[in-house]
Symmetry: C2
Subunit: 335 residues, 2 copies
């Protein structure tokens, strides 16, 4: 404002984690059980359950483009990516607030379809849309969803509980969101119906709420995080919070037929897609090896991709040829 | 997307209330005690208190401009406008989530100062900032704050309880936010320190949390709404929700010395500023006439501005010369 200060570096130069660190320093500690830095905030309250709260934004031309994503898909996506944060704590999503920033010239039908998508996804998860806000913007469409949920206090899972020796395992397969998006971008049309279904299925992620709950209620998961930025980057967050290192084996990464097809067509590596593609919204779980069978009995199929090791050994990705490398810290770069 | 449909009208052609109505129709009813359409959503839960949840966005060049509003003021404002929604339900704000959409070239110092403002306002109200989100945008800075709070179930006040015959009264004075903003825009510099203080004081609104709580806990308020869009427009919301009409007397609108000064300098009407200026964040309260004295004893100074009447008589503004007119439905137009 009035006092002329020397310009400071741009936020893009420190990146998202640098910015989160600065913010956490300014905000200071809170009374929340888990505050800034996990998938969702965990708020204590009387009774047997914690209140969970998370917010995620989808910005036009950054997180979606209207010529590739329909308004209904966008709405479903906004609910699912937030539900994924609740899933990573073992919780149940319950109530949503929707804050929209919209250019005045936007067609009404877009808002109708967006809300049809939001409502459909919410209904399918028994989430109530209870409020929101409408703001005008001179910029891109911005969809901000806040999701509230709950988790039994005794069952809460955070990013913090991984122990050296734990198996690190993931739900589902990795890289599908990135590979299918790149395939659409490149105008690829698979000639097999199965691959077309794969592309369609990955237009909207599906949060692993049931899996997160089962792993939390059974107390099998020591730590969880949802894979929004890509395994490479989210693994670092989990290891940092837990105070462990990790070794991930490229050869064990679960890759779908769709990702293999798209990677071949696009001349990309499946490992790179799986590690850094982002937006998978699968869960990364730290679990004792002996408990993997029990997880399967609970209907949660986990693929081990590596192990937690001592923090001193750092985070390592081991290639098929036996060589090791550090993960790129960025994954999906926010800035 | 793929199916070519005829274009539908733009959202600006239906306005905010038209859009909210469409959205409420698509979302349908929820299990919330109060869902879309009040200041905050009211969520039932075990125990003696409801969970309150509200979200508000501040968009650069729509709700603020960086050359007039410092980042710290913006942060304080984002907390206060949400606290005002909680105040209107008689509640206590408790936890905040902050979702930012930021252009990558933004200076780090802006984010630091924004969070210093957010934190200062939160601390002063005993609000904990527990989480948030950072997103990149190619457009304007957008600050989305979700505020959670609580209200004893027996004390909840909504927009709905006004009865024909109630006095309609407001806290504070009206039009100050608009008048001081217009004075700044016009480059006016008051030569009296008192007026300069008035301009500075209104750069950031101050939510009437204490007043809302006192009126709710004493069960004096039949209905409340916070004046974000302007009395003219927010009165219509309260009357619509309560199923009453209203007569407002221009001569009774509380106008500060600052508004009178700015109106004279800017050649604007004080009545118009008070009715439609918006962003006052005062409370409009429906209360029995006999209870006004009790409110004063509780330390809540209310100025009666009119009365609730039968819905059949509609909403009327009565001028100083005795003539009547309908309020302009718009107040601060969102689209």
């Amino acid at each position: 404002m009035s006092d002329p200060r020397p310009p400071t570096p741009s936020i893009s130069s420190v990146g998202e984690s640098g910015l989160v660190e600065r913010i956490a320093g300014i905000v200071g500690t809170s009374s929340a059980v888990v505050g800034i830095g996990d998938d969702a905030a965990v708020i204590d309250r009387p009774g047997d359950s914690y209140l969970l709260a998370t917010v995620d934004a989808l910005v036009e031309n950054v997180h979606f483009r209207t010529n590739f994503t329909s308004a209904a898909q966008l709405g479903r996506r906004a609910i699912e990516i937030n539900a994924s944060d609740i899933a990573a704590m073992g919780g149940t999503p319950e109530h949503a607030l929707v804050s929209l920033a919209l250019p005045p010239r936007l067609e009404i039908s877009f808002v109708d379809e967006l809300y049809e998508g939001l409502s459909a996804a919410a209904r399918s998860r028994d989430i109530q849309i209870v409020g929101g806000n409408l703001a005008r913007t001179g910029g891109p469409i911005t969809v901000d969803v806040t999701l509230l949920g709950s988790v039994p206090k005794f069952d809460l899972v955070t990013r913090r509980g991984a122990r050296s020796g734990d198996v690190l395992a993931v739900t589902g397969t990795l890289g599908d969101a990135a590979a299918s998006r790149l395939a659409v971008d490149a105008g690829l049309h698979p000639d097999e119906p199965e691959l077309q279904t794969w592309m369609d299925d990955h237009a909207v992620p599906r949060a692993r709420v049931r899996e997160g709950q089962a792993l939390a209620r059974s107390h099998l998961a020591h730590a969880m995080i949802d894979l929004s930025d890509g395994l490479s980057s989210d693994l670092s967050h989990l290891c940092g919070a837990s105070g462990v290192g990790a070794v991930i084996e490229d050869s064990r990464l679960p890759i779908s037929r769709g990702v293999r097809w798209a990677a071949r067509k696009l001349r990309l590596g499946t490992t790179e897609l799986a590690l850094s593609g982002g937006e998978d919204y699968e869960l990364l779980v730290a679990i004792a090896e002996a408990d993997l069978a029990m997880a399967r009995e609970l209907g949660v199929s986990l693929t081990p991709v590596g192990r937690a090791v001592s923090a001193a050994d750092g985070v390592t990705l081991r290639s098929r040829d036996g060589s090791s490398r550090e993960p790129s810290a960025r994954g999906w770069a926010h800035f």
